[in-house]
C-alpha cells in the first residue's frame, strides 16, 4: 500500500503520527515487543528534577472499559533518567518526547533547563496530573496559572514545548488558549479524568490514594470532543490521546484535528499496541482511499 504517513509537528518531521502516551510506555519493557524505530516518536514517563516515590499501593484499579491509576509520577529523577532511559533510546531512530513533572514552578523550570542540555527532541509539560497534591493539576485547571507556568517554562526550554492539558475543567478551550498565548508550541490532550472506585466488600476505595486518573477506551468520547473543540479554537498542533485502541480510533482523532496521536492504556494491555494502531491506520487509509495522512486532519466541520 505505501501511504504517506509523515507529519510535521512543531516544525519537526515525524515518520508517522503515532507516539506513546507518557506513563504507559517503558522503552526497555516495550522494546521486547516491537521495534521502536517504527514510531513517529516515543513519549516517556513524567520526570522530575529529583526522584519521586509516587503514591502508596494499590495504585491501579480496573473500571468498566478503562482503568484508574494513582502512580503519582513515581520517577527516578532527571539524572537517572538521562543516564538510563535516554541512553537506551539513543540507539533508535525515532523522536523522543520527554514529559516533565514538578511540584513548583521552579521545579518545572529546572527540569526544562536540564533537558535543554540533552538531545531530547520535544518537551511535554505535564500540568495536568491528577495524582499529585502540589503542582500537577493545580497548575492545569486555572487559565491564569497555566499562562504563568507555560510562560516561565517556555523561556527555559530549548526544545519545542508541548503543554499537556487536563480534561477536568469546565472549559477546555479557555485553558488551551491560555497555553497557546503563553507560548506553547503544541498541546497534548487529554490527560486522565479524575475517578474513584470503591471496593464494596472491603468498604474502602480500591486505590490507597482514594482517587486516581481514569483512562482507557471508556474515556474516548470526552477526549475526541475536547480535541475537536481545541482544534477549532487554537492554531498550534495537537498531540491527542485518550482511549485510542485501534487504527480507526487514531483516524477519529486525526479527523477531529490532531496532528499526532498517542496510545496510552492500550500499551499496557497489548504491548505492541502502537505499531498495531499504526498498521491499522495505514489499512484504514488504504480502505478509504487516503493517500497522505495529512489529507484527513481536521476534516470534521
Amino acid at each position: 500500500m505505501s501511504k504517506t504517513m509523515a507529519v510535521s509537528f512543531c516544525g519537526m518531521e515525524m515518520k508517522n503520527p503515532i507516539t506513546t502516551a507518557s506513563g504507559t510506555f517503558n522503552p526497555q519493557a516495550h522494546s521486547q515487543f516491537f521495534d521502536l524505530n517504527r514510531l513517529g516518536a516515543v513519549t516517556v514517563k513524567g520526570v522530575a528534577k529529583e526522584p519521586w516515590p509516587g503514591n502508596p499501593t494499590p495504585r491501579i484499579a480496573e473500571t468498566y472499559g478503562g482503568m484508574l491509576n494513582s502512580v503519582g509520577l513515581m520517577n527516578p529523577g532527571i539524572d537517572a533518567f538521562i543516564k538510563d532511559d535516554l541512553e537506551f533510546l539513543k540507539q533508535f531512530d525515532t523522536k523522543v518526547i520527554v514529559n516533565t513533572a514538578g511540584r513548583t514552578l521552579e521545579d518545572y523550570v529546572e527540569v526544562s533547563r536540564r533537558l535543554a542540555e540533552t538531545e531530547v527532541d520535544l518537551v511535554e509539560l505535564n500540568i495536568s496530573c491528577p495524582n499529585v497534591k502540589e503542582g500537577g493539576v493545580t497548575f492545569g485547571t486555572d487559565a491564569h496559572m497555566v499562562e504563568k507556568v507555560v510562560r516561565a517554562v517556555k523561556k527555559n526550554t530549548r526544545q519545542p514545548l508541548i503543554v499537556k492539558l487536563s480534561p477536568n475543567v469546565t472549559d477546555i478551550v479557555e485553558i488551551a488558549r491560555a497555553a497557546e498565548s503563553a507560548g506553547a508550541d503544541a498541546l497534548s490532550l487529554i490527560n486522565t479524568l479524575l475517578g474513584m472506585r470503591i471496593d464494596v466488600y472491603k468498604r474502602k476505595p480500591v486505590l490507597a490514594q482514594k482517587v486516581g486518573g481514569f483512562s482507557g477506551p471508556a474515556v474516548k468520547p470526552v477526549a475526541v470532543r475536547m480535541v475537536y473543540q481545541v482544534h477549532k479554537a487554537c492554531s498550534i498542533p495537537i498531540l491527542a490521546m485518550g482511549g485510542i485502541y485501534t487504527g480507526e480510533d487514531a483516524a477519529e482523532f486525526i479527523m477531529a484535528g490532531a496532528t499526532m496521536v498517542a496510545t496510552g492504556t492500550a500499551n499496557l494491555i497489548e504491548p505492541d499496541a502502537p505499531v498495531r494502531v499504526l498498521d491499522e491506520l495505514e489499512a484504514f487509509m488504504e480502505k478509504t482511499g487516503v493517500q497522505d495522512i495529512n489529507e484527513i486532519r481536521g476534516i470534521i466541520e
Binding site: G23, T24, F25, N26, Q28, A29, H30, Q32, F33, K45, P53, G54, P56, T57, P58, R59, I60, A61, E62, Y64, G65, G66, M67, N69, V71, M74, V206, G216, P217, T265, N267, L268, I269, P271, D272
Partner: protein, 263 residues
C-alpha cells in the same frame, strides 16, 4: 523472551473445590522458558474488562507443553475464566517476573516451602524443581484441603488448617514449630513462601534470630505485568535503613523476605 499469544488453547478445566479451578493450557514455548515463581497474565474475552489477571504458574510440563494454573473465582474476571473449557482459547502473556532464586537453595541443609491458600499452587512447580533437595513442604488451609497430594512425590508434606481438618490445627507457623522441635535449629535453612500477607508477615517475625534465609512471593494490583506502568511497587528496606521500591511484576514477584515492608 516473554510470549504473548492471543489464541492459547485450553485443554482442560476442572473445579477442584467450590470456586477453585485448575486450568491446563497448551503453551509449549511459554512452558519451555517458565521458571518456578513466575506468573502469566490472562486476559478476559469480555472487553469491558481490560486489565490482566496475573496467575502464578503452578506447573509447566515441558514434555506435553502443558501450562497448569490454579485459581480462585473472586470477581468477574476469574468468573469468566471459570466458564471456559476445552476448545476455548485465551490470550496469555508470560512467563513474567523473575521467580524464585533456585541458587539460594544450593548451600542449605534444609529447604522449607511454605504455601498458604492460593499461594500454594506456585510452590508445586518449585517443589518439582528442587526435588533433589531436602524439601519440607508446609501447606496451610482454612479447612478442607484442595491440594496437597501432588506435593508428596517431591518432599515431606506437613499440613495445617485453622480448624484442624487437615494436618495440625493452626497455621503454617505452628506446623513449622512442630517440625523444628525435633530438628537441628542451627542448621542453615532457606524458606520460600507464597501466601496471604498475614502469613508472610508472621513468617517475617518468626524468622528473627533463626539461621534462615527467606524469599517471599508477593502480589500487587497490576496495570501491565511487564514493567511499563509503575503500578506495582514493593517497598523494601535496605541494609542501610533506606527504603527502596521495586516493581513486583518485573523485578519480583519474589523478594528477600526480611527486606519486605508490609504496609
Amino acid at each position: 523472551m516473554t510470549m504473548w499469544n492471543d489464541g492459547v488453547a485450553i485443554k482442560e478445566q476442572v473445579e477442584l473445590a467450590p470456586g477453585i479451578y485448575r486450568m491446563e493450557l497448551f503453551a509449549p514455548e511459554l512452558v519451555a522458558q517458565a521458571k518456578p515463581g513466575q506468573f502469566v497474565n490472562l486476559y478476559c474475552r469480555d472487553k469491558s474488562r481490560l486489565l490482566p489477571r496475573p496467575i502464578s504458574i503452578c506447573d509447566a510440563i515441558v514434555e506435553t507443553g502443558r501450562l497448569v494454573l490454579i485459581y480462585a473465582v473472586v470477581g468477574k474476571g476469574t468468573e469468566e475464566l471459570s466458564a471456559m473449557g476445552e476448545g476455548d482459547t485465551i490470550r496469555v502473556m508470560g512467563p513474567l517476573g523473575n521467580g524464585f532464586p533456585l541458587e539460594a537453595a544450593t548451600e542449605a541443609k534444609e529447604i522449607f516451602l511454605v504455601g498458604g491458600g492460593l499461594g500454594m499452587p506456585p510452590m508445586l512447580f518449585l517443589a518439582k524443581a528442587l526435588s533433589d533437595k531436602p524439601l519440607k513442604i508446609f501447606l496451610g488451609f482454612r479447612s478442607q484441603p484442595w491440594m496437597g497430594q501432588e506435593f508428596e512425590p517431591w518432599g515431606e508434606v506437613m499440613g495445617s488448617s485453622d480448624d484442624g481438618t487437615y494436618g495440625c490445627k493452626g497455621t503454617v507457623i505452628d506446623a513449622m514449630n512442630l517440625y523444628l522441635q525435633h530438628a537441628d535449629l542451627a542448621a542453615r535453612r532457606v524458606l520460600y513462601a507464597c501466601g496471604p500477607i498475614p502469613m508472610m508477615r508472621a513468617i517475617q517475625q518468626w524468622q528473627q534470630g533463626q539461621n534462615l534465609e527467606t524469599w517471599f512471593s508477593l502480589e500487587e494490583r497490576m496495570g501491565c505485568g511487564f514493567g511499563a506502568c509503575a503500578g506495582c511497587p514493593a517497598k523494601l528496606r535496605m541494609p542501610d535503613g533506606s527504603v527502596i521500591q521495586k516493581g513486583v511484576c518485573k523485578l519480583g514477584p519474589v523478594f528477600p523476605g526480611e527486606d519486605v515492608i508490609f504496609s
